[in-house]
Each structure stands twice: as structure tokens, then as C-alpha cells.
Amino acid sequence: MMKFNFKKSILKIPFFLILLFSIIIYSCRKGNKEPARLPAPLNDAKSWYESVYPANSGNSLQNQAAGKSRDLSQWIKPDWQHPVMYNRYGQSVIEMPVDPEAKFGSSYQLNKKRCNPAYSRSYYLLMTDGKKREAYILTIIADSAYINNDLSKLDHNTYRKHDPDFSGTILYFTPRGSYLGGYGYRNGQLMASGTEDTDTNKTPRVQNVNTGRLIANTVKQVCTDWYVVYYVDGVYQCDEYLTTTCVNVDDGNPSGSGGNTPPPPPPCPPGMHVGPPVTPPCIPLAVESVEGGNRLKTNYVPPPPPPGDGGMPPPTAQVCSVDPPRQPCPSAPDPCELLKKAKQKFATAFNTQRNADVLAKPGTNEYGSNLNLTSLSANTYMNTPITTNGTNSWMPNFTWNSTNGFSIGSVHRHQSAGPSPNDVFSLIDHLSNPDLVTSGASSIKFYRDNAYATIVSNTTTYTVTVSNWAILSQMFLDYNQDRNGYEEAFQNKATEYKNKMNLDEASATNKALMEIFSGAINLYKSPSNSTNYVITDIDKNGKLTITTCPDK
């Protein structure tokens, strides 16, 4: 049997006590100097946060310039020791309270009324989709009616969840203090977003029918200035103006859903909006008024759909931008100026003589001639021959070289009809000519800017130019599906107009042509052997129109 040696044991006690004390001391020192090791994801997030939002000494809240949003990252930081990690909306979320060391508090001020900062909680949200990280500060400000003297209810509401009867406001900021937007809750339901509205018209609009008589009530706007207010240990430090929201009121009753807290302000200051700048439509030169009288602008924005998982709507990395001012619409090119410019090419003395020569050819066959410039810099034409295809249609022989000339135009004879689709499409058909294609972009542009087709008949000279190559290109695709079918449809249309409306051949074909090509081509016409051109088009009622220019 073993014997207990009291003397030996007594001697060993101080040694154990010293050892135990040393362990305790060491443990305490370790706890004071180094925080507990963080899990890897949290450690990565912390490293990222501290690199993006480094704390700079001497840049405290009070030292920051007024008028700019306060850089909260220089004042507060996440409480890394109390993270809650979860996934939401496909993102890994780390939710942390604000480090209590800063004794930070925030709330909002509506006009001159400050909300109790005790009803507010702020959380850091660090989110990542595996590729990109973002950090936000979520401030949850509960209504006093919801709190009802039970501050513990604040703990029920975070990014991930909220009480079914939560009433209050949530605001999102960046760690640098930029306001990103917010949402209002009433009895657990999302409210419509507050909207900026600067219209101050006060217009009788709403009819009161309670008395049996119709009495015009006054609808006016009640506006609220929004501020975010910062506190340290419950003591006011500073506030910062966010924006102003307005709601319409009828006889003093808000037209919205009522209640103590208005919906939160939009994320952008007045005059700005979320997202990239949008170029507004131009201001038409003449605006047709469709509504009379002053109208009150309401700018109602419906509430967002609830997230559906019991949590708060997510923040968005919104960028506020200012739209460029509306500009007057550019006036459409003056058609007479266009005609004047085009005539420099198709109404030269050479053209007039060539038109007459083509018209003077004997018989009824189609005769025609290419109109080839000697060079792109000159306005002189080569003396090209007048040719015929016998009983067939005349076809231009396009060239684009210095030897045979540059075919910017052609002229051929018709017996009675005006230009046909084939005459129009020949202009675009030439764009695939190998000589033109290989001559380069500037040559092609020159061709597009100057191309024309002239058709002469016994009474009238027609010249077609292209006003919109893009539209014509699209139509050319249709034409190439079935050229015979396209021409037949055109001739059928013209025949119908001739028979039904007793139009002559020229008018019937002009009408059919412009019904098809209006917006893609310009159709000019003049009496034979004249350069007194007028502009032919079709109006919205399908009637042919003639525009005579001052300088014909």
C-alpha cells in the first residue's frame, strides 16, 4: 500500500502555484495584446477592408471639411469579434455591429426634429460574390411607436431579418459616409420610396364629394428636409443634409399612406439620379400642347417588391449622376438647301444638254447615259456615250476610275412613267462595284453624298438622290429577295392609282414610289429641258406634295 508523504507534497505546492499563476498571467497578456485568431474568411475580409479603408490619424470626424459627407471610416470600424456570417442573394455576407469603442450613434433629423439615437442601430455589411467585395453601413432607425419603450426590439431587426411589425427606416451608406438610399417600413411592409419634388404649384385638383356638392380642394406639397445626425456616446456631434422629399397633401392630409415617418429620401441629391447620365430627348421646335393648365408633379415611385425572405432589401452600389441639359432638337436639313447642293452635280449645263440628247433619241426604246465625273475634285463630266438595250430597260454601266470616269449619276428615258424601284436601287447596287469598294472610304462617302439617277420623259425630268442610305439598304434586302415581285407590286400599285384615282402615269408612279421610298430618297422634278426643280414627296395622308424652293 502506498504511503502518502505530506512533507514532500507540501514542498511541491509553491511550484504548482507559480506555474498556474504564470499560465494565467501569460494567458491574460496574450488576450490583451493579440485578439483571438479570426476564421480565414473573416481574416480575408478584414485585410481587404483595412486596405480599402485605412485609418489615417489626424483625419478625425471633427477635422473633416463641412459640406462634404463625413468619412465614417475614419471614425468607426467593424466589430470583428462579433460577426454573423450567412449567404443572401447569392452573396456571402458578414454582418457586424459597429465597434463599441467609438461609442457611435446615428439617426436622422426631419426638418428640425431629431429622432432619438437610442432607437437606432448600425451594422457593417461586407459582401462578396467570390469575385468582388463591397462594404456598406446599414443604419436601422425604428419608430418610437414600434419600440414602445422596449429597446430590445432593436435586436430583432438586421439585414437578414426584421420583425413582422417593424416600423421605421433603414438607410444605407458607404463606409466613407456617402448615402446610397433607404427604405421605409410600416407594420412590416415596405413603403413607396420618397421622391424629390421641387414643383411648388398649388393647383385646385381634388374634388370633395362628401357634402354632395363638388368643392375644389387645394392640393399642396409638404416637404421634408432630411439630415443624418451623428452622436458619440449619445451626444450630438454633427449633422449632414441628405435631400428634401415632398408629398402632396389635400386639405392638410397627406395623399400618401399617412403615418408619422415619411418614406426615406432618394439616394441622390436634388438634380441628380441613380445610374449613368441619360441624355434627355431634344426639345422639339414646336410643341403641341396636349394638356392645359398647371399640373402638380407627383413623381410617385411604387414601393419595391419585398425581398421575400424576411430580410431587408439589399443595398446597391449606386452612382449619382447629372443628366446633360435638354437641347433644342437639331432642325431637319433644309430640303431646299439639299436641293441646291445636289443641283451643283445633277443640274449642270452638261446635264441639261445630256438630258435633252437622251430625250431626243428616236423610237420608244429606253436610251441612257452614264454621267461620269472626270475626277472627284472637279465638277466636269466625261463625254460618255448614249446607249440603248433595245426593247429592254436601259442599264447603267458603272465605272469608278480616272480612265472611264467616276459614275456619280446616270440619265435614261421613260415614255410616261416616273422613276421605278429599279432606278432607285441601282444607286445602292453600285456600292458593291469592285472599283468603288477598293477605292476606299472617302471615295465611297463621296459617292454616297453625290449619287443620283435622272429619268427624262417628254414632259418631265426626274432626279432621285438618297436621303437615308441605312433605310434604303434595308429595303434593298427586300428587293433582292424577289426583284420581279417587287417591281410587279410597284406597277400594280401605280396601276391601281391610275384606275381608281384617275392619276396620269407620272403621278401614279410618283405616288407609288414615294409611298414606298419616302424617308429614304429625295425625288426632284422639273419640266423637260429645265432646271427649275421642285421637291416631290408624300404627306401623312398619302397625298403627293410639291415644294417649290425660292432659288429653283
Binding site: 406597277q491 384617275n502 414606298i516
Partner: protein
């Protein structure tokens, strides 16, 4: 009783088997369309197979009177009483020029002729595009003051039927002068 039944039976059979000819009649003309012809509504005309290249080119008021007989389409204009549309040589030139594209594209089916029919004249035009045959006609009275214009479109396989229909129409035209 037996007689009554026989009469009733014959009447019923007659109703189902004896399709009456359709008379196209306006204040200026009367013509007979063969048995089985029926008038097309605008929706039916729009639904006809034809050239469907683009909305712009297919938009038109169409012909005032539209009929169908089997696979054959018949379109009729109102009678033209103006001088321009009573000038058959002029109309021929217009159509000849307007169809030059066919020959240029290698289609030699176009033919036009002004023929005498009794005391009257008719401009007859025929051609085919793809698988569709076309007859156009301008039938004119002796005084050259009334012209009934129209057209027939047909699948080329039904050319004989279309030709017979054309003759039947032309032979039945009676102007109300």
C-alpha cells in the same frame, strides 16, 4: 303526301347542287362570274398568297371588287369613264414600260395586245412571275367611253381554267350606258 315529299326532296337537292352564277353589277356594268365564285372580304384579300416583301410595298387600297373561284383570284376596278383610262394604246404603253423589268431580268413571258371583240376592244396582258400567272384586261365599249379593267391571278398549273374564266368574263360584260 307522296308528291309533297318528292317535291321537298327535289327542292333540297336542287338547293345543294345548283350553285347560282354570281352577277357582278354596278351602275355602269353587269357581268357574270361562273358558278362557285364568291366575293372576298378585305381580310380574305389581305390573306391571299402573293408578294409579301415589305409592309410599305404591300400597302395599297387594293381593287374595289375581289372574287375567288377555286384557286383563281379575280379583281375588278370600277368602270372608268375618263378619257385617260379610255385610251387603250396609252394604257398599253404604260403597262409595257412598267413591265420592262421582266425582260431585263430574263423573264420573257410578258405579252400585251389590243384586240377587237365584236364592236368592242380589249387590251389583254399576260405574264408570269415565279409560279403565278397574271391576266390583265381593259375591256372598252364601242364608243370608247367605258372601260372595265380587271385582273386574274392564278397558279400556272391552272392556266386553262384561268383562260376560260377570262373569256367567260369578257363575253359577259354588259355596260349600262
Amino acid at each position: 303526301m307522296k308528291k309533297t315529299l318528292v317535291i321537298l326532296l327535289l327542292s333540297t337537292i336542287g338547293t345543294f347542287t345548283c350553285k347560282a352564277q354570281l352577277i357582278h353589277s354596278t351602275e355602269d356594268v353587269k357581268l357574270i362570274l361562273p358558278k362557285g365564285t364568291y366575293k372576298l372580304t378585305k381580310q380574305e384579300v389581305d390573306a391571299l398568297p402573293g408578294i409579301k416583301l415589305s409592309n410599305k410595298i404591300n400597302q395599297s387600297g387594293g381593287m374595289p371588287y375581289n372574287y375567288q373561284l377555286g384557286s383563281l383570284y379575280i379583281g375588278l376596278f370600277n368602270v372608268n369613264k375618263d378619257s385617260m383610262n379610255n385610251d387603250l394604246p396609252r394604257e398599253k404603253r404604260f403597262q409595257d414600260e412598267g413591265h420592262l423589268f421582266l425582260q431585263s431580268n430574263g423573264n420573257n413571258s410578258y405579252n400585251s395586245v389590243i384586240k377587237r371583240m365584236g364592236k368592242n376592244h380589249v387590251l389583254l396582258i399576260s405574264y408570269t412571275i415565279n409560279d403565278t400567272g397574271y391576266y390583265r384586261f381593259n375591256y372598252q365599249n364601242e364608243a370608247k367611253t367605258f372601260t372595265q379593267a380587271g385582273k386574274i391571278e392564278y397558279p400556272i398549273a391552272d392556266k386553262e381554267k384561268a383562260t376560260a374564266l377570262l373569256n367567260e368574263i369578257l363575253n359577259s360584260i354588259q355596260f349600262i350606258e
